[in-house]
């Protein structure tokens, strides 16, 4: 087990180093921050000097080593654009993205699961067919289009909900939450719906497929034979057995939601990590871009490693196989 743990951790470290290299190479050659930082009046000497101070004239290896050494200590430097500590910037934006993703996930479950059950139970009804058709629209409409349509309908035409921003927030320690104010909750509605559209469809289709499978199994037939009410059979006995894969999928999709949030945040001017990243790209803010990529990859790598280790812990066979396979390849 210890060998396996070491192996997995080493793998994770290796992946992170590769990501760091990638992040670094891309952003280092992406553009010239100096051009974005000075204005029309700046002289050539100013530019040369700024370039020198930012360390952009150092050799590639020196810059990369410096970047990794600092990153390991959680130090991503100062943002070129707003001269604040990058970690602080990301920490400020994390709550916004997290709350958005959380609400979108809740919506996708609350809407997706019942719809999935309905389409499975009444599989040939008109309603189920309509929902199936609608779900195709749900997967194919890009989320920015959904966002803009929502804004047009609910902000411009009806004037019901705000078109942008996060409303008033309340600080609890370093966490700023929008849940506690009316304007914060109102601001959450449209972006969360827009972000969850795709997710709702995914959950619905998964639940439907699982339900169709389960409804054919023997224990459902026995339950029916025993005289358990149909509704109870469908929503309790059958659904319960369908939820495991849904939970797994939801967990796996969190990473994707953070990625999709980038688009939604741009449309709704949601002050989250995605917005921060987009802004950083516009201004060639290398420290912020690199830190964002590193942190998001870290979340993925950490999740995967934990999952692998848990699986191995639960099922020793997996552990041996993985070690052997890894050894053979390496």
């Amino acid at each position: 087990m210890i060998a396996f743990l070491l192996k997995r951790t080493a793998n994770a470290v290796f992946v992170m180093l590769a990501v760091a290299l990638l992040a670094f190479v891309i952003f280092r050659f992406f553009g010239d921050p100096v051009e974005m930082m000075v204005n029309e009046q700046a002289t050539q000497a100013d530019r040369v000097e700024l370039r020198e101070r930012l360390g952009l004239n150092d050799g590639f290896l020196t810059q990369y080593t410096r970047f990794v050494t600092n990153a390991v200590q959680g130090n991503f430097g100062i943002s070129y654009r707003n001269q604040q500590d990058v970690m602080v910037l990301i920490q400020d934006r994390l709550p916004a993205t997290f709350e958005l993703v959380l609400v979108a996930t809740v919506i996708s479950l609350l809407v997706g699961i019942p719809l999935g059950v309905i389409t499975a139970v009444y599989r040939d009804s008109r309603l189920a067919n309509a929902l199936q058709l609608g779900s195709i629209v749900g997967v194919s409409l890009p989320s920015f289009v959904v966002g803009i349509l929502l804004i047009l309908a609910f902000s411009v035409s009806l004037g019901l909900l705000p078109a942008f921003g996060r409303g008033e927030t309340v600080d609890i320690g370093w966490w700023s939450t929008g849940f506690l104010t009316p304007s914060g909750r109102a601001a959450l509605v449209l972006p969360a719906i827009s972000l969850s559209t795709f997710q709702v469809t995914l959950v619905m289709r998964l639940v439907r497929a699982e339900m169709l499978e389960t409804l054919r199994t023997d224990y459902i037939k026995f339950a029916r034979a025993r005289g358990v009410p149909t509704r109870r059979v469908q929503w309790r006995h059958a659904l319960r057995n369908c939820l495991m894969p849904v939970i797994t999928l939801t967990g796996m999709q969190i990473g994707n939601l953070i990625a999709f949030a980038l688009v939604t945040e741009t449309v709704f001017q949601w002050p989250g990590m995605g917005m921060l990243f987009i802004q950083a790209v516009t201004f060639v803010d290398i420290p912020v871009m690199a830190a964002y990529l590193m942190i998001v990859s870290f979340i993925f790598v950490a999740l995967n490693t934990v999952v692998d280790i848990t699986y191995a812990w639960v099922d020793p066979r997996l552990r041996d196989d993985t070690v052997r396979a890894g050894g053979a390849n390496g």
Binding site: E40, A42, T43, I151, A163, T266, M275, Q279
Partner: protein, 525 residues
Amino acid sequence: MKMKHIMLATTAVMGLAGTVQAENVLRWGAHRDIGSLDPYSYGDSFTINVLNHVYEGLVRYDRDLKIEPALAASWEILEDQVTWRFKLREGVTFHNGNPFTAADVVASLTRVSDETSPLKGNLPAYVSSTVVDDYTVDITLNGTYPLLLNDLTNIHIFDEEWMTENDALMPTDIGAGTEGFATYNANGTGPFIVESRQPDAKTVFVVNPDWWDEARHNLDRIELTPVNSAATRVAALLSGEINFTNEAPVQDLPRLEAAPNVELLEGVDLRTVMIGFPFRETLTTGESNPFSDIKVREALYKAIDLDLIHQKVMRGKSRIAGATVAPPIPGYVETLDDVPDFDPDSAKALLAEAGVPEGLEFEFNCLSDGLVNEEQFCQAIASMWSRIGLAPKLDVAPRAVQSPKRTNGSTDVYTLGWATLPMLDSYSPLLQIFHSKDGNAGVFNWGGWSYPELDALIDAAGSELDFDKRMALQTEALQLVKDEIIMIPLHQQPMAWAVTDEVTEMPLFPDAKPRLWFVNVNPAS
């Protein structure tokens, strides 16, 4: 029934969303956020412009963009011609209550001209400053220099005591990895006080009741919210969530115009859009470079149908330009503004005369996030040039990608927009673009040209204190730029702001900077 529900819900949400306040609020939806609360932290005109509501300079531009006294009451040039003596306004206080004195000016100038200050270039002639008495400051320059006042309009004055207390006497330094107190806090003398700031979300300014000047606005609050997405910004304006934007997207202008509650403020920017040429030995293809021949530049000029671009690409909203500076800029005279007739046949003849081979390939570098409708006018021009037998390769990408190519000469023909900001004088493009690359001059001389006669005129203007004589020199230099077709001017680009009917007065400035201390809104009931 349903409608009634919606109405009820609407009032409920509206009531909850905006706390009821009898305040005159300008809700400003900008296209981006300011970088920081420190105006010296970043050489960015938008940040400086916004913070100009909080901080002030010794002098400022008035409603007609003429320089007028602000924190300085008067000034004179001493006998040595390089020292300027400023008499300061008395009785001015900072937002924290500290009095404004000469020491504050010296500390601020020291900070902005520090080696590590990104704004050092905004005060190029500065050498040192000294306190004469509490309300008199001497500023020493590195030579006779006529544009000190223009430069000072953008140098904001900090409180020395406040900077000392908070360890903010020096600018923040990205190279050294230090952040600063001034990045998050502000203390100026201006008409508005920073109440709160959430980066990328909202920055709130409240009125300064103790402002030294008579307020010509009736605002109590300004809420600045960045809304990057153009569609969202338009939606927010239509729904009344914001009541002002300084970036109304060109493609949405008809829609905004049609909206009953929105008024458009349209004008022509000071920014002149130009096309520049390489003067190097060879093109990026390795072929020898024909553009250093004036005949070729003339041919390319004649091949551009300026009217068509004005009508079709700029939807009639631009101003066709013959000069490289806009009419309000000192140094401009009307005779600079002639444009040649659109004449592709004579263009073709000129190319043949210059021996340019048929189908000559060259890079044409444009930005996708630069000037107004830049991608479209670049496409139009590229096809006009194809019609006279050239083969321009259009290269469109974001500024971040294109800038390095332009500055290190790895492209051929390129676009450039120049507004002469913050100087508002034709000396700015002459020195920065048209002068030979030499030390601090010719930073934007991306083509690498050199006209000694032109350099001499610019250098003479740069040390001429007599305004009329200086203008004569600069006009002569601009004429030379025009005669040599160093660059092809296309137009001054359109600008559009939009307000809702809550805003009763909002002056539009050709330098595209909102000055909200001139704004009036419907009084809140």
